[in-house]
Amino acid sequence: MNSPESSMKQSGEVAAARPSGRQPVIVLGTIGHDAHIVGSSVLRFAFEEAGFRVVFLGAVVPPEEFISAAKESAADAILVSSMYGMGRIDCADFGDKCKEAGLGHVKLYLGGILVTDPEHWPETEALFKGYGFDRVYPPQTKAETAISDLKKDLGLSS
């Protein structure tokens, strides 16, 4: 996980934007019984490039492992990918579990192919926000969107 030079420079800039000077940390992986790893890999490199420290968990990650990794890394955000339409099952109590684990302050982002039914995005988004996610993204969302949102949410940019 050696960061390329550009990422080092970026990380300095991003970290410098915070009072603590600490590089922001995200936990990232594909939740549940989902073996898709390409999407989260793309996000991993994009976030590293943008100066974030990425704790990458890979695919087929139980919800509890996101939470454990977020505690150990004092993560600023957890980014959950779900590509196989079973998001409802895997994510229904994710926000509650995070709160219970003392991670109520951690930003929760979710994206991917979240449901198998014909998509009515506003309903899907509302459903998953109800599960405790701060931001929910439809398929085809660009990594830059999530990066820019997270910088905003963490107070790293205006």
């Binding site: 590089q23 019984h33 073996a35 898709h36 087929v60 492992e65 505690k71 150990e72 004092a74 590509m83």
Partner: protein, 482 residues
């Protein structure tokens, strides 16, 4: 003759073995009940006197290497943050260094936890928590809490490097002996134990063997290497046997099971890579050398726990395959109760030998299942996948048995069968078809003590003294304490 002396100050016996490195053979072995509680020197002198019968050399001049698990061994408390992450990494680091874990605590240490920690009377504390750049709050809180606790035990700080030095300062300012080490969990998927192991070895010599009088007694010998914990010596032997000496083939992946009266220890030298295709590995990465200690499984003091875990009926079935017909579940319970009250009990007659072997087989089964990983099937969007946690020991070539019930019992092989997979439990990744060897003469510690400096001789000696269960030609007579 090129002689080498190996001494193990064990908790129950002081053991000595004399090797001829040039001829790769054992010259003599001796055992004496441990005298650590009174004067450790008495047992050593008796061992040397017995070894003297085999040689005209002055044994105090023969290069000696010493390991010790006496006086409670290396008692360690480990502290981490998340139980499945930094705390687990800390436990593995401590066990791999040969420690006895007397307490493992995650998250912020509370007052009640601190009093349990103090009550555990650790020789050494390993303080971990947070990946590098990760959580800072917990390890700082725990360093302050340990600083306030009136314990003299040295502390190794091996957590988040961003605050690890601060933790050392907090502890040092409070007059505590604190040492900085590299983070044992620098990233969520990387364990680094090298520096922690090195520090544990140094502190073991500096503080623990000195405090227990072992260092002083060892000065009577021509000590050529630092004293190490006995389990660390056994792990070195495990590694040498698996990998072989430089430029020579080893045995392949090796497991050592040591069934004692109170605990069952399992050591493995294996990277634990999946033996089936299409497996996704999850969980903390595994170290090539792994040691686990099952403090609830032993064939004497903890015999009743084995009965509770496996069931009297299952143990009875095992015993009846050796001693057909005669036994029922009540006999199993009665025997287990009796031996737990009398840990020095030696089985008498075929029935008790069968019961002992059945208990040992059951203890080995549970211990190896806990040591090894497991696999579960998950139906992913892309079809069926297998998710593996921990080590897959399916391809282990050799299982080595240690402990009285295996070495001296009539049914050592039957007991070792507990380590082999059966069709009923396909999720446990335990050895499929290993061959068995038995450390009949308790020499693994000696092989381990020689392993780093004389790998060829140590390997050749091991191949002579570790015997298949069926072997009728014992090189050495069974050992009985004098």
């Amino acid at each position: 003759m090129d002689l080498a002396l190996a001494i193990d100050f064990g908790s129950t016996f002081t053991k000595g073995s004399l090797f001829d490195l040039a001829q790769q053979r054992v010259v003599g072995i001796a055992y004496q009940p441990s005298t650590v509680e009174s004067d450790v020197a008495i047992g050593l002198h008796a061992v040397l006197a017995r070894l003297k019968q085999h040689t005209s050399h002055d044994l105090t001049r023969v290069p000696a290497r010493v390991c010790s698990s006496a006086a409670g061994g290396l008692r360690m408390v480990v502290v981490g943050l998340v139980p499945s992450l930094s705390l687990e990494a800390a436990q593995r680091a401590a066990l791999g260094a040969g420690a006895k874990i007397v307490g493992a605590f995650g998250h912020k240490l509370s007052r009640s936890v601190l009093s349990s920690l103090a009550a555990a009377r650790p020789d050494l504390i390993l303080l971990a928590g947070g990946i590098d750049g990760g959580d800072e709050e917990t390890i700082l809180h725990n360093a302050r809490a340990l600083a306030e606790l009136g314990l003299a035990s040295p502390v190794i700080v091996a957590g988040n490097q961003f605050v690890a030095e601060d933790c050392v300062s907090i502890l040092s300012r409070a007059g505590r002996n604190a040492t900085l080490a590299a983070n044992i969990l620098p990233e969520i998927d990387r364990i680094e134990v090298g520096e922690v192991h090195q520090l544990i070895r140094e502190l073991f010599v500096k503080h623990i063997t000195q405090a227990k009088g072992i260092e002083r007694v060892a000065q009577e010998l021509n000590l050529v290497t630092p004293i190490i914990p006995t389990p660390a010596a056994v792990l070195r032997a495990c590694q040498l046997l698996a990998e072989g000496p430089p430029k020579r083939a080893g045995l392949g992946d090796v497991v050592i099971v040591d069934v004692g009266g109170a605990t069952t220890d399992v050591h493995s030298a294996s990277n634990g890579a999946p033996t089936r295709p299409g497996v996704i590995r999850r969980g903390l990465p595994e170290l090539f050398l792994k040691r686990t200690v099952e403090g609830d499984l032993g064939v004497r003091i903890n015999a009743m726990t084995i009965v509770e875990r496996i069931g009297a009926d299952a143990i009875c079935d095992f015993a009846n395959t050796l001693h057909p017909g005669g036994l029922n579940a009540d006999d199993v319970r009665a025997y287990a109760e009796r031996v737990s009250d009398d840990p020095n009990h030696v089985p008498r007659g075929a029935q008790e030998a069968a019961l002992d072997a059945a208990l040992a087989r059951s203890a080995i089964r549970i211990a190896i299942q806990r040591h090894a990983g497991s696999v579960k099937e998950v139906y992913t969007g892309a079809g069926l996948a297998l998710v593996q946690y921990g080590k897959d020991l399916g391809d282990v070539s050799t299982v080595i048995g240690v402990g009285g019930v295996i070495a001296y019992g009539e049914h050592g092989e039957f007991a070792l069968q507990g380590a082999v997979s059966t069709p009923e439990a396909p999720v446990a990744l335990i050895p499929n078809g290993p061959k068995f060897l038995i450390d009949q003469s308790y020499l693994l510690y000696g092989i381990g003590l020689l392993a780093e400096e004389f790998p060829d001789a140590a390997f050749d000696i091991a191949s002579k003294v570790l015997l298949p269960p069926s072997s009728s030609s014992q090189l050495l007579p069974p050992v009985t304490p004098a």
